[in-house]
């Protein structure tokens, strides 16, 4: 499957669904000890959309992502990309793991870590190096290319994991709490990076976060999950103007309204 660099277009995200989740459920174990983690989740992610999934801690967001990424089979229901059911890691998808430090290979330098998925793609050396350089520059780690993960801070490790996904140029990018360990200033930069890569590469992006402000800032729509087992409480369309800007967008009245909206939905007794 060819990965494309679609040139920037200022169209609103097409209403064509790329990712469709239908009645997805995942239960661990069986019999009396069975644990239902996610139940009957249904939502779609359209092409070139940024969708954030929010919900209380431990509700099952990571399980959902693992099912979407094809790492685990769902117990019932389906997830599909362009109509194709997902039953294994799709080639057009990349995942940024929540446990970033364990997801980096400790025996490889930053540069080689970012290079790992590209080697598999058998790209010509020049393109490979170009992508790596671009990705590292985008996350601000060009100077650390020769260092090992254990020499970096948690936030820097997280950025390496993001750079690795970026260099892969997936069409669908899924990120599990990708900005959690980063300081506030860097977080704003990475949020804007997220929006930029959506604009530049036409990626479809799904982000799990428990930062409501971030979810509202980034998203075209927010999927709110609640209660164990996780269910979709609501899907909120975020109607803020594009392009988003850290200062002006966050100062809008609508921003506060949207934020309150989402927050109260999460806080609502089940």
């Amino acid at each position: 499957m060819e990965l494309q660099n679609t040139p920037a277009t200022l169209d609103a995200p097409a209403a064509a669904p790329r990712l469709e989740v239908t009645a997805l459920s995942k239960t661990y174990g069986s019999g009396p000890n069975a644990k239902c983690v996610i139940e009957d989740l249904t939502f779609t992610v359209n092409k070139r959309e940024v969708v954030c999934i929010v919900g209380p801690s431990g509700v099952g967001k990571t399980t959902l992502l693992k099912c979407l990424a094809g790492l685990q089979p769902a117990t019932s229901g389906t997830a599909a990309i362009d109509g194709r059911t997902i039953d294994g890691p799709p080639p057009e998808m990349a995942l940024v793991f929540q446990d970033y430090s364990r997801s980096l290979m400790p025996w490889l330098t930053v540069r080689k870590n970012v290079r790992l998925p590209l080697r598999h793609l058998r790209l010509p050396a020049q393109e490979m190096n170009g992508r790596i350089d671009t990705a590292l520059a985008a996350v601000g780690l060009s100077h650390a290319a020769g260092q090992y993960p254990w020499q970096l801070s948690g936030g820097m490790q997280q950025r390496v994991a993001i750079a690795r996904a970026l260099a892969y140029r997936p069409e669908i990018l899924i990120m599990d709490e990708p900005f959690a360990s980063v300081d506030a200033q860097t977080r704003f930069e990475l949020e804007d990076l997220c929006l930029k890569i959506r604009d530049d590469f036409g990626m479809t992006i799904l982000v799990v976060t428990h930062d409501i402000d971030e979810a509202v800032y980034l998203s075209d729509r927010v999927v709110v999950l609640g209660a164990k087992p996780a269910r979709v409480l609501d899907i909120v369309g975020i109607d803020l103007p594009a392009p988003r800007d850290q200062i002006s967008t966050r100062a809008l009245l609508e921003f506060a309204e949207q934020r309150t909206n989402v927050l109260s939905m999460i806080r609502k007794p089940a």
């Binding site: 693992k66 790492l71 890691p89 990349a94 998925p117 598999h120 254990w150």
Partner: protein, 257 residues
């Protein structure tokens, strides 16, 4: 600065002092068991450099190197298979754990009974005994690869070969190296034992022969050579390990600081 210098002097100086003391204390010894150090050194040079070098030293070393190399390849290869194919692992597990508890040296009489007293027996003993630590360490290392790393290799759809070579092998590297270091020790021990039990050639055999003939200086010369080889082999291993596993050494150092 002064303290560092003192430590350095202590570190380098003590062995020198110990050897000097030994020399002086044994100078005019008539004790059969502890001949003068200079007699030992003289016999050391006479025997190993170079009269018996080809016939005995090289012989022993060759068996050690070939046996160890075979054991490493078999150990890692079989370790991979055992770790990744559940049926084989379940089948082999009890056998491996039973055999590993047998003192490697005790396998030598069995090999002597089966293959006789030749070089094949020594090589077979060394190889079989040295397989186990590497095999077990490889299985443990591969089984212990972090599940997140496995997930990463799946998400980016690495092929089976790529997974094994680029993820599993380096991840298990430190543990495999640990096992291989123990295997080296075992190979060394069995090399000596197989010679002492069933040979007239080799450093171990010559040392035992000297002991039985009460040629104590020769015996000491043999012991000294074996000690040097044991120490040297381990040193070479550590040097290679620290080079290949530089990333691991660095991360451990950081974790402990």
């Amino acid at each position: 600065m002064n303290r560092k210098l003192t430590n350095w002097i202590l570190g380098a100086g003590t062995p020198v002092v110990v050897v000097a003391l030994w020399w002086v204390a044994s100078e005019n010894s008539t004790n059969t068991f502890f001949p003068p150090l200079n007699a030992i050194l003289e016999r050391f040079q006479a025997l190993w450099l170079f009269e018996h070098f080809g016939s005995d030293v090289l012989l022993s070393l060759r068996n050690l190197v070939i046996g160890y190399a075979l054991a490493s390849v078999i150990g890692v290869g079989l370790g991979f298979v055992t770790a990744l194919v559940p049926v084989i692992r379940w089948g082999l597990d009890p056998l491996i754990h039973f055999l590993r508890g047998i003192p490697p040296v005790a396998l030598v009489p069995i090999f002597i009974s089966l293959i006789g007293f030749g070089i094949e027996m020594r090589l077979a003993s060394i190889t079989l005994a040295a397989v186990f630590p590497t095999l077990i360490a490889t299985v443990d290392g591969i089984r212990g690869v972090d599940s997140t790393l496995k997930d990463v290799s799946q998400v980016y759809r690495l092929t089976r070969t790529e997974k094994l070579a680029q993820v599993y092998l380096p991840a298990a590297g430190p543990q495999i190296a640990s096992g291989m270091q123990v295997s080296l020790q075992v190979a060394f021990i069995v090399m000596i034992a197989s010679e002492m039990l069933g040979s007239s050639q080799g450093i171990g055999a010559m040392t035992l022969l000297a002991q039985q003939s009460f040629m104590t200086a020769d015996m000491w010369a043999g012991i000294l050579l074996l000690g040097v080889i044991g120490f040297g082999a381990n040193l070479v291993f550590e040097a290679i390990k620290n080079n290949v596993l530089a990333w691991y050494v660095g991360s451990k150092r950081l974790a402990r600081s």
